[in-house]
Structures are given as C-alpha cells and as structure tokens.
C-alpha cells in the first residue's frame, strides 16, 4: 500500500497555491498514516474553515467539516460517542488559537484522546491575508499594513499551560523531524498538540517581500532552532528564533476512559 492510497485522486491537484506548504504537512501525514497502517474506516478527521481546514476533504478517511474554529468541539463529541475510533483534527493557526481558542484550551484540559495538528502560517490566508494572533511582530498583513504591533501567541506554551499531555513543534523544512513527531503525536494516548510552522506565499510572502515559495521555506530554515541547540543559546540570541522539538510527553487519565468507567459503575447500581 502506498501513501497515495489515502487520497481521493479524482479531486487532485490540490486547490492550494503554488508553494503552499500546507500540502507538505498533508504529505507527511499520509506517509505516517501509511506507516501506522491507519484504518480508513476507523479514523475520523475533523476540520473546519481555512486553507489548512480544507485539505482533509481531499483525503480518503471519514471527514467531518464543521463551522470555523469549532473542529475540536465536534471532535470531542465524536470521540465521546465512539471511543473506539481515532480522531484527528486539522486546524490552521487562526482556527485553533483565535476563533477556536476556547475549545482548544478546554480540549487540552480534558485530556481527551484527540490529535490536533495545527498548521501555523502566521496569517489568515483564505479570507484575504488578515493578521492572526500568531503573526510575528513587524510583519505586514492586510489589516496591519505598517507591520504587526501586537506580540504573537506561542501555541506550544498555551497547550502546555492548558494541560495537553503531548506538545511538540516542528516545521516543513525539517521534514524528517516532522515525520518523527507526527508519528509520536498520533500514537500518544491523550490530547496531543502538534504545531507545524508552514508558509503562505500568496498572502504572507507577497506582503513581506518573500513572494517566492523557496524564500519562505529558507526563512523557516533560518529562524528555527532545535531544542538542544536552544539550550546553549542566550535569551538575546533566541529572541527572533522558533524552537522546535518535543516539549511535553506525560501521561494523565484520559477523559473517555474515566467516562466509560463511571458509566459502567452507574449501570451496575
């Protein structure tokens, strides 16, 4: 079986712009799915609105596409009613931490067995290039024509604080690292958060003098540092860098298991 058996080939080529690296995340996901032999029938992918949220509709799994930002809320419902299925959520940064921020922190707090893959491209690409809470300071967007003035959100720190039991960050340049952490995220029991740094040449690149998709991936290569390298660097050196690696890997009681246990006890009485 090849990784291309997990896509709906009739709907290809992908709708994404040339050089949009959301496709790279999908490519890696399909390879990991092939490696883990994910069962198409017993896997539910939940996605919402946005470029990153549209990609799963081209995959040959059970796909649920819902309202903007609410992917995790629907995924919680799916997982609670069918604890035996694997639930994976694809989100963009706006979807996960802006509009769906509340759902995100509460899914992490509950520690429900869902894998959230968050594509972080620093912008709202599909709606016309508005700034997102993850846009780094100084970068331009349609709603920030003189540069972003607000500080950016750190998705991994947020997930860590909310209680996610697996938190990792990777990017589309370090592709083998992405493959490794995505596999760990998908096999982890409990709520796992994987943030992937991607690029948007059309909306982000064009406004920030990096319209060439290659330049954007080179920028990702230059701004990311691994955890081991970051340990030796000073705070000043790490100012404009993004650290990649696995930040949290713990175990905590999982929500559906507690729920089933409680239900079993109540049924006996």
């Amino acid at each position: 079986m090849s990784y291309l058996d997990y896509i709906k080939e009739k709907q290809f080529p992908l709708f994404t712009c040339a050089g949009c690296t959301h496709g790279t995340v999908t490519n890696t996901f399909l390879r990991v799915a092939d490696e883990l032999k994910l069962d198409k029938e017993n896997t539910v992918i939940v996605c919402a609105i946005g470029c990153a949220g549209r990609i799963p509709t081209f995959l040959d799994f059970n796909v649920l596409r819902v309202t903007h930002g609410r992917a995790l809320a629907f995924a919680t419902g799916v997982k609670l009613s069918r604890p035996d299925v694997k639930v994976i959520v694809f989100m963009g940064d706006g979807d996960a931490v802006a509009i769906g921020g509340n759902h995100f922190i509460h899914a992490a707090r509950r520690n429900i067995d869902i894998t959230a893959i968050i594509s972080h491209n620093e912008i709202y690409g599909m709606t016309g290039g508005q700034y997102a809470p993850t846009t780094l300071q100084g970068f331009k967007a349609t709603t920030a024509p003189y540069g972003m003035i607000e500080p950016a959100f750190d998705v991994c720190e947020l997930a860590k604080g909310a209680g996610s039991t697996y938190v990792a960050r990777s990017d589309v340049y370090h592709i083998n690292h992405l493959h490794k952490v995505m596999k760990n995220a998908l096999t982890h029991k409990g709520f796992s958060t994987l943030e992937v740094i991607t690029s948007c040449p059309t909306q982000f690149g064009r406004r920030n003098k990096m319209a060439d998709p290659i330049k954007l991936v080179e920028r990702i290569r230059d701004i990311t540092v691994t955890q081991t390298a970051a340990e030796k660097m000073s705070v000043e050196e790490l100012k404009d860098k993004i650290v990649i690696g696995e930040f949290v890997k713990t175990e905590r009681p999982e929500l559906t298991e507690i729920y089933e246990e409680k239900l079993g006890k109540l049924r006996k009485n």
Partner: protein, 67 residues
Amino acid sequence: MSTAYKVQINRKWCKNCGICLAFCPKNVFSFDEKKKLQIVNEIQCSGCLMCEKRCPDMCMKIIREEE
C-alpha cells in the same frame, strides 16, 4: 552492482513551485525559460527523498533501480 534512481514528476499535479529544486543536494532539477520544472541531472540523484517528502503537491516519485 550500483543503485540508480529514476525521478518521476506527475505533471498534472505539479505547480512548479520549485521547493524540490531549491533543496535538492545534487541539483537534479532546473527551471526552463518558462519557469517549468525540468529534470536535468537524474544520474546524480542519491535517493535522499528530500524532494518527495517536501513536495506540497505529492507529485514526486523516486524509484530505486538496481543495476
């Protein structure tokens, strides 16, 4: 016995973004005058799969051939 690699591009899906070209360690690819992706140095391919894994449109395929 040496190993050779064959590079296949699915032209129907390729958007000529150049990500494979930029990060190929052996310079297997090049753009022609119309900025269309061309395979120019297939014999140099070492089979590292960096193009296949990074391709956002899933149109690359590297086939290993034993000689």
